[in-house]
Amino acid sequence: MLETFLFGVFPYVATVVMVVGLIWRYTTNQFSYSTVSSQFLENRQLFWGSVPWHYGIILVLLAHLVGVVFPDGVQAVNGVPLRLYILEGTAFALSLTLLVGLIVLMLRRGISANVRVMTSPMDVVLLFVLLAQVVTGIITAVFYRWGSAWFIQTATPYFWSLFTLSPKVEYMTALPLLSKLHAINFFILVALFPFSRLVHMLSVPLAYLWRPYQIVMWHRRQTRDRVSGL
């Protein structure tokens, strides 16, 4: 019963909370969308936390995404044992890197007086939820080898069943407890997304790669356009 709720209903609740929350925050308070970086206040320890954390988490998240979107591709790659070892080894190394990064970031929030005062309650919650996510992920990887192989047999069909609005809870209930925690924690993160600094993920400034360097705005023309458009 509980599991039906956690894996059949909660994902949808979390997603709705995220979408509505994001739209609400964006429309009512775009000003609050920021990385709220603290590099200005402390920029020595930050390097050893932020860089490994961000690069690690981006790659590991991408790997999960690839597993969901291209399961056949992953299966083909894993067909040869050597490739499976390399893939798993890399993923494991990355997750250790990002764990180190996360721990440095957490310690830094406590040690640096300047950063500590700028830490909001949500930052603390977020850091611990993220830590739980990373730790459950890593322990799963240690105890239940070849995750990239069984992930596409369990999590992938489960995610697709969520997308098609016919959640197949049995895929998840069959998994070990750690993996279940990992999944539930993921949906908690989804729900927290709009209410935390995670929103900066939506601001990845890729458009910078092709925009012209200079930006000039004609107020007069804009106003004229707006008025004639009325």
Partner: protein
């Protein structure tokens, strides 16, 4: 020709008395908020000195401005892709230590301290942590500290001087210094805009003011490194970058910016310059020695019929053109050529110009008295205490000719007035120095008037913004009801 208008500024350094009134006016109006205490959109620093933030001119450290890579102009911070890989840690960002940690004093203690043998003191309290702190740096920490081994001697503009020259500069009886008030230059090729990944910074086409959209800024902080003048600041409280807004709410309503209005030395001038936007990139690519001239050529003659026609075509109103024709900045920068940009080799094409100071002449105290050692009192540029190399580094990208010409003209104007009013200098001698400086009596008179006797409306020729009309198009009164300050419908608070 793509004619645009720029609200441009001239600071006459000979008149600056270093009183910091400008800085305080700005602080009181704009930056006395949490997260902004350390920001001085207007600051005044002592030269030679390391400035604020410390060593801001050292672009090997902060990578501000632009550089030529082959045939193209590129932010010194690097290629776009390279910059984005630095998204999670900007290696060129000045941190709070490079500015200073803002503080206040525990004033309450003076009233509440229990009776004791000693007088109570108000200890310094950090504005960041709220804890007691030791003050180690502050704005203008190096005020008037010429000769100091910590500040003046580390001025990077001295790097090309010989050791002997440097020693001479800091000998006690020869010591000299001057002040540079600095605000955002509202550049034509702003580095801050060029490196902003979010595209939040923009230049207003109508008047050239460069602004950070507080809604669009995502706090990547690249502008802080990208501005070679360190005139964008990161608000550590709101997580947004901020910069000088040239008091646009004031200029739009016909008032001079706060720092201009309050300037005690009356060193500041403001007026419209027309420029050719088509040539910005070409000019920004000019080799160092030609940069000042190239930028001057970008500024157009507002009395030229062709320029006027092109300006009208671009929607610049006749009242703005008339304002450009009366502009004091046009006179200083283009007509007289005595106002120069600060560090134009950063290639952002700053639109704030400085009339360089006439420093004390070379003198010695050999005979126990202060001996100027020359008959013509004001001397000549070769005898300046400070080597021309130093001045050229600051104001003409190393081109000594340009700075010498400007200083010669300023000297000639003095000689001219001296001959006229004091009479200890023959008229012939004065005319000779005028001729040598490429100046004539009328021009000298005009320079003198605008320098020494300008009225308020001569110094600030502000174009009419027609706010009364624009506001109706722009603002929906019901929606904007109760908004605070700069157009927020709610207080600008940091996100959760």
């Amino acid at each position: 020709m793509d004619v645009r208008a720029q609200l441009s500024m001239v600071f006459h350094l000979d008149k600056c008395i270093g009183c910091h009134t400008c800085s305080l006016a700005c602080k009181n109006v704009w930056t006395s908020r949490e997260g902004a205490e350390y920001m001085w959109w207007n600051n005044v620093e002592t030269k030679p000195g390391t400035g604020y933030p410390t060593l801001w001119e050292d672009q090997t450290k902060y990578r501000g401005g632009w550089e030529m890579k082959g045939k193209s102009l590129r932010p010194r911070m690097g290629r776009r892709t390279g910059m984005l890989t630095n998204l999670f840690f900007n290696p060129f960002l000045p941190s709070m230590d490079d500015y200073y940690e803002p503080w206040t004093y525990q004033y309450g203690h003076l009233f509440t301290a229990p009776q004791a043998d000693d007088q109570p003191t108000a200890r310094a309290i950090s504005k960041v942590t709220g804890k007691f702190m030791d003050v180690e740096a502050g704005p203008n920490w190096d005020d008037d500290m010429s000769g100091s081994s910590v500040y003046a001697r580390n001025d990077i503009n001295l790097s090309e001087l010989t050791d002997a020259e440097r020693e001479a500069l800091f000998r006690l009886e020869q010591m000299m210094f001057f002040y540079i008030p600095r605000i955002c230059n509202h550049c034509l090729n702003p580095g801050c805009v060029g490196v902003c990944p979010s595209g939040a910074i923009y230049k207003r086409a109508e008047d050239g003011i460069v602004l950070v959209s507080q809604e669009k800024c995502r706090g990547w902080r690249f502008c802080v490194s990208g501005c070679p003048y360190k005139k964008t600041y990161y608000n550590w409280q709101t997580g947004k970058s901020e910069k000088c807004i040239l008091c646009y709410p004031r200029v739009e309503t016909g008032q001079a910016p706060a720092c201009f209005h309050t300037c005690v030395g009356r060193i500041r001038y403001m007026g419209v310059l027309l420029y050719d936007a088509e040539r910005i990139e070409e000019v920004a690519k000019t080799p160092d020695a030609g940069l000042v001239e190239a930028q001057r050529s970008l500024i157009l003659d507002p009395n030229d019929a062709k320029v006027i026609a092109a300006a009208r075509k671009n929607g610049i109103g006749d009242d703005w053109i008339a304002s450009a024709q009366k502009s004091p900045t046009y006179k200083f920068v283009k007509q007289w050529g005595i106002a120069l940009p600060l560090h134009i080799e950063f290639r952002t094409l700053p639109m704030l110009f400085y009339v360089p100071p006439l420093l004390p002449m070379l003198a010695s105290t050999q005979n126990g008295s202060y001996d100027l050692g020359n008959s013509d009192f004001f001397g000549n540029v070769e005898k300046f205490r400070v080597p021309m190399k130093y001045m050229a580094r600051l104001f003409s990208a190393g081109n000594e000719e340009i700075i010498k010409n400007a200083l010669k003209k300023l000297l000639a104007v003095r000689a001219h007035k001296q001959a006229q009013s004091v009479g200890n200098l023959s008229v012939e001698k004065a005319s000779a120095s005028l001729a040598e400086a490429g100046c004539n009596a009328d021009e000298a008179e005009a320079i003198f008037r605008l320098t020494a006797l300008p009225r308020f409306e001569d110094r600030f020729v502000l174009p009419p913004y027609h706010r009364e009309e624009v506001i109706g198009l722009d603002i929906e009164p019901i929606k904007q009801m109760g908004q605070v300050g700069l157009g927020f419908n709610q207080p600008p608070r940091r996100g959760p």
